[in-house]
Symmetry: C2
Subunit: 463 residues, 2 copies
Amino acid sequence: MKLFSTPTVLFLLLFSTISTSQNAVKDSIMLKKIYTAALTEGKSYEWLDYLSNEIGSRLSGSIEAETAVKYTEAQLNELGLDKVWLQPVMVPRWTRGFKEYAYIETLTGEKTITEICALGGSVPTPNLGLKAEVVEVHGIEELASLGEEKLAGKIVFFNRPMDASLINTFEAYGGCVDQRYSGAAEAGKYGAVGVIVRSMNLRLDDLPHAGAMSYGDTPVNMRIPAAAISTNGAEYLSSLLKLQPNLMFYFKQNCKTYDDVLSHNVIGEITGSTNPNEFMIVGGHLDSWDLADGSHDDGAGCVQSMEVLRLFKKIGYKPKHSIRVVLFMNEENGLRGGKKYAEEVKRTGEKHLFALESDAGGFTPRGFSFQTNEANFKKVQSWQALFKPYLIHYFEKGHGGADIGPLEGNIDVLAGLRPDSQRYFDHHHAANDIFEHVNKRELELGAASMASLVYLFDMYGTK
Amino acid sequence: MKLFSTPTVLFLLLFSTISTSQNAVKDSIMLKKIYTAALTEGKSYEWLDYLSNEIGSRLSGSIEAETAVKYTEAQLNELGLDKVWLQPVMVPRWTRGFKEYAYIETLTGEKTITEICALGGSVPTPNLGLKAEVVEVHGIEELASLGEEKLAGKIVFFNRPMDASLINTFEAYGGCVDQRYSGAAEAGKYGAVGVIVRSMNLRLDDLPHAGAMSYGDTPVNMRIPAAAISTNGAEYLSSLLKLQPNLMFYFKQNCKTYDDVLSHNVIGEITGSTNPNEFMIVGGHLDSWDLADGSHDDGAGCVQSMEVLRLFKKIGYKPKHSIRVVLFMNEENGLRGGKKYAEEVKRTGEKHLFALESDAGGFTPRGFSFQTNEANFKKVQSWQALFKPYLIHYFEKGHGGADIGPLEGNIDVLAGLRPDSQRYFDHHHAANDIFEHVNKRELELGAASMASLVYLFDMYGTK
């Protein structure tokens, strides 16, 4: 059966080409508008200045975290969104206490002070501190071969460095972070009394890098304290251990876990003009570690996400679907905000199409990673050419983001902004994750890239 | 006429595919070797540390520039190259003299000190300085309409900012730099007595940015002094001028031009194993402005270029063609080194195939621009997939580099490393172009990208 005559087919082909190229022209004009507004009339940098310099570090349960909730709620209210609200969520409350103190003591009694920080979730040392011999290992798997005989009563020093030959520094992080997260739980099984972990940092410096750890199902009375040591400290300790395997390490920390407290995800919404009950979200996490102001992790992601909605208002774009900014609470040490948002989506049955997270720093955007099926990914790839003028080249399958992860199964596409990763772990969770290390244009380009992607999803859906 | 039977064609196709894919495998293994060596056993950062922190700023004709010549020559000698030599070149010698001094004086006599720096090549002010009313313009083309009537006896203030909406910041620079380069020569024609130029900087800060200017064919006794003012200073001056159009600006500078002096390009060579008389060069410029240590402009390009040859030695790659590193002298205020090298190539008839310059900062490499014909560009594009694992995506036609530019017409391909440009003009020619703003991994990734491109040109030629 011949459905169409040849001229008809030609006409249809022609029509579809014209229509596609008309879209391409319209879309490229819209992206230009978005990028220009972000770079010349942006607000993300000003917001980040306030979050970082006026409020500061925002560990879950802290007064600063609550101040940040109020500040961002107020800022979203000023944007004239259709709805702004707080979503209650119970979060852990862990405090560092006084500054940690540590030294290496040689056999002749010389003490060299070294920089450490308690890992998030760790128990304190005894009040007078903890002194023991040190066993250096390069991974959890070494513990079994050493056994209780070699580890009981000792401090285990996890010293596997990040692999500098990996181009994506997040991969290098992924190859090391088990030492930090599970090192204490695993070493404790062999009678170790404490754990010191090399900071997850690709360069050599004096800054210890915080981060979450977990005791898993270790009984409370079996938990041993864990701290991170700077990369310079780790190198020094390791070299001394070669000379004096029986040197002693002393550390003292006063961190504590209190009862969970009430906190909030901060949410703002532009309600969709034609599909108000279909949602697309863009977000970052509002909490940060306590050693710095958390400008890259993840102040940047929060203000970029807020900026997406502000840019739509600014250029007068009225989305078809409902677009929400979600500032998640407690990504760093619990992910309670992300889990809570996903629970609510499941409970209410709200239809979510697309979620985009920025939680990899405020550096020059290189592209996006997409967690979705082949059909959706193909659709997304067809938009790639639109981003070329903005030097956004990276469109790959991959992880969306921690906070939006719990939505998986109840959403079509999860995506993550992928900024340049080379400098990220120089600052990650350390005292130098501060405002002056975020570049205004790089931050703004990220926000514009996010807004552009949300615009395209809004225009062309996910099916 | 049927040249081949179908099976023969199929066989040929198959053979060519296998051969291509075998090359692709071999090449991807080589690139991995290059990148891994650069990231784990690199030397570029150590060299840059010495150039920046031990030697410092390297303006042509200065003692530091000569020290840098000796240092890099010695370092190249240590690499065990086949030849290392100095190529003599006469360079201009301009000195800043004492620190410039400037203030804005309001009608009530209040003086506000403002940060300026003399532009490279400028004449000094009179010994007691220069005070005059100010006429703000936004481009050279405005001068003619104002004419001698409005400009005679005045200081012309060029205040056109860089266009923040342009993604490639070098384009924004290109759109402004005529004010700095030709502003004094042009304003002088209308009887202006001095020129103040807004710094070529996309952000607002207090740092004046140096850079070259030229009087063209203006007679010596008609030359007027020119200085750059910081972007904050420019904004302040502009806002005050709206309130008090008759305010006065005072500045004093003591810069001088002396006779040309002898300096050198520094050259090292690995002689080609099969085509020793065909040359490929990689380079940057050794001179820098005097306000900082010139780590990005262009210490980075120098050490990356040296690193290309070191990496080849390190991994045991013996190039077929002769590969030279050329550290050019005097890019900033004369381009004498680049011109001299090209003159010598022309004079000796040395066959040059390919030149690659790194002179756009030590930031994360994004790709390359190529100045060549369509056939060579197509060939280059066929290598693009090899760079994808290193997140090098940008392969476009464009400018090679200032120092290698004079080779045009006597070479097949000129190319430029294209690092991320967002932060470049925050530092360019200003007091904050210092070592701490160069990231070790970013610098090393640039060197590895350059070495990889040179390897591919060496393997597959330019025809």
